[in-house]
């Protein structure tokens, strides 16, 4: 019998902007909630996985390392990883799935803690990343030209879609409109109100075609999923969600050289790793740090042809909660907050368990796709309830 891996529990800390509680405390909140959700105890946890690991040069982006979690929670682990050079955020969950399938661990805490809003407010404790002096590595190919932000890098992919394929700002707007509409139904989301197209079109521009509403904003939060081995699943009390497949790839690692987002090769690979087909998918949770990225996932995963993502979004009806392919049902990063990838795995589990409350999609959803990454790196998970 094939060894399986499941998401057995999910947890999340308070989600906010400029929180004052320590990021380690937020992380432990999310861990406690996820372990309790799975019906496990900390004594049963024997693995830890995160992306990207503690980044001392950029603490707000990733303030907590694997070692702090192991020590603080008193874990006895047999396997752990925390790697920036992996297949993007959800790669940390895919790696945990590989570990439990191969018997290296039974129950793995996978976490992503972000503290970017708090860090911005407390620069003495959390010095901002230096983008002006002694720039090295791949930053040197973009930062000297004022392209400090991934907004400017991603915007160029979006411009090409508008010029080559006729995508409109009204089509792009549907990502933010859908996110805000769904976030308003999600008690944990930062956004509380729907957004109108008029307000969207009147918003200030960041980097064309992106306006303010097309860009996620700094958030403080921790998100956790527990990945459990198939032969340990009888210890779990919650409805387990099977990690049916995963994929991850990198185009040219330097953003300036990537001609296409890695969503395209990653999307194609995901279907090579499973018997499921796009038509089997009940809901998609697509990374949307910037509003254009879900379009690359729609196209990369084959829900529409390359260049037709804008048309797919037209009017927003197909991606709405009652549409044919409900997308970012919890509000995505534009509505829920910049949970940085892990929110999409979390929300997939919520929907597949039928636990979405006011935002629960109709029917009996059994298959979801969660993705992370939007530029030259990307990861995707195919999740199923058996």
């Amino acid at each position: 019998m094939k060894r399986e891996a499941y998401i057995s529990g999910i947890g999340m800390s308070e989600v906010g902007v400029r929180l004052t509680r320590a990021p380690l405390a937020l992380t432990v909140d999310a861990i406690r909630e996820a372990v309790a959700d799975a019906g496990l105890t900390l004594a049963q946890i024997d693995g830890v996985s995160t992306y990207p690991g503690k980044m001392s040069m950029f603490l707000g982006f990733s303030p907590i390392g694997v070692d702090e979690v192991i020590e603080t929670c008193g874990l006895k682990t047999r396997w752990h990883t925390g790697a920036a050079e992996s297949t993007a955020q959800l790669g940390a969950i895919a790696d945990a799935a590989a570990a439990v399938r191969s018997g290296l661990a039974r129950h793995v805490i996978c976490f992503r803690t972000v503290y970017e809003a708090a860090a911005l407010a407390r620069p003495d404790e959390y010095p901002p990343m230096n983008r002006r002096d002694g720039v090295t590595g791949n930053s040197q190919w973009v930062s000297p030209f004022g392209a400090f932000s991934a907004a400017c890098w991603t915007a160029q992919f979006a411009t090409r879609h508008m010029k080559r394929y006729g995508m409109t700002r009204e089509q792009l707007a549907q990502v933010a409109l859908n996110d805000h509409r769904n976030a308003a139904l999600n008690p944990r989301a930062i956004v509380k109100e729907p957004l109108t197209l008029e307000k969207y079109m009147a918003a200030r521009l960041i980097s064309t075609p992106f306006c303010l509403y097309d860009c996620d904003r700094f958030t403080d939060a921790s998100t956790v999923v527990i990945v459990s081995a198939g032969d340990a699943i009888d210890e779990v009390k919650a409805t387990p969600i099977r990690i049916a497949a995963s994929a991850g790839s990198v185009e040219r690692y330097s953003w300036d050289q990537a001609e296409w987002a890695s969503a395209y090769p990653t999307g194609r690979d995901l279907w090579r790793n499973t018997d499921y087909k796009p038509k089997d998918v009940d809901t998609v949770q697509f990374y949307d740090g910037f509003a254009f990225q879900p379009i690359t996932w729609l196209e990369g995963l084959g829900f529409c042809a390359v260049g037709e993502g804008g048309q797919f979004l037209e009017g927003g009806t197909r991606i709405a909660l009652d549409g044919e392919l409900p997308m970012n049902t919890g509000g995505g990063q534009l509505g829920w907050g910049r949970l940085h990838g892990f929110g999409f795995a979390y929300e997939s589990v919520v929907q597949l368990r039928g636990a979405g409350g006011a935002r629960q999609i109709k029917g009996d959803p059994k298959v979801a796709v969660a993705t992370s990454g939007g530029g030259p790196m990307a990861a995707a998970l195919l999740l199923a309830r058996d």
């Binding site: 983008r131 190919w141 030209f145 004022g146 979006a158 090409r160 960041i206 064309t208 300036d256």
Partner: protein
Amino acid sequence: MTWQRSRVRLDDDNRAFWTGGREGKLYIHKCGDCGGFTHPPRAICRHCQSENIGPHAVAGAGVIDTYTINHQKWAPDMEVPFVIARVRLDDAPDVFLTTNIVNCQVEAVDIDDRVQVVFEEQEGLWYPLFEKARGQ
């Protein structure tokens, strides 16, 4: 644009790229064995893994592959809006350069515009920017 650009730390791989403008040259790493270009520059050719690789002056002409008009002041001294573009070089077709399109209105820039390199010097670094080719 008069704002202070990010200061790049020079090393053996990137020195020719960031200082070639002093002699009016845009240098891209080229392999002496297979003829392929490697950018970002490295000590090994990314096509054939040869060590016979080094800076090669290209013509500095190309086309705008795509672009964005940046409106956000990411630093207090930035003058906005300005164009950030990705240029595909004529004689190094698998290399893209992220750059600024200067000496024209931001609205005058479009995909497939032909552009030519111009250098902006700040404290010993020569930043390769591009302007629309004459005759457009």
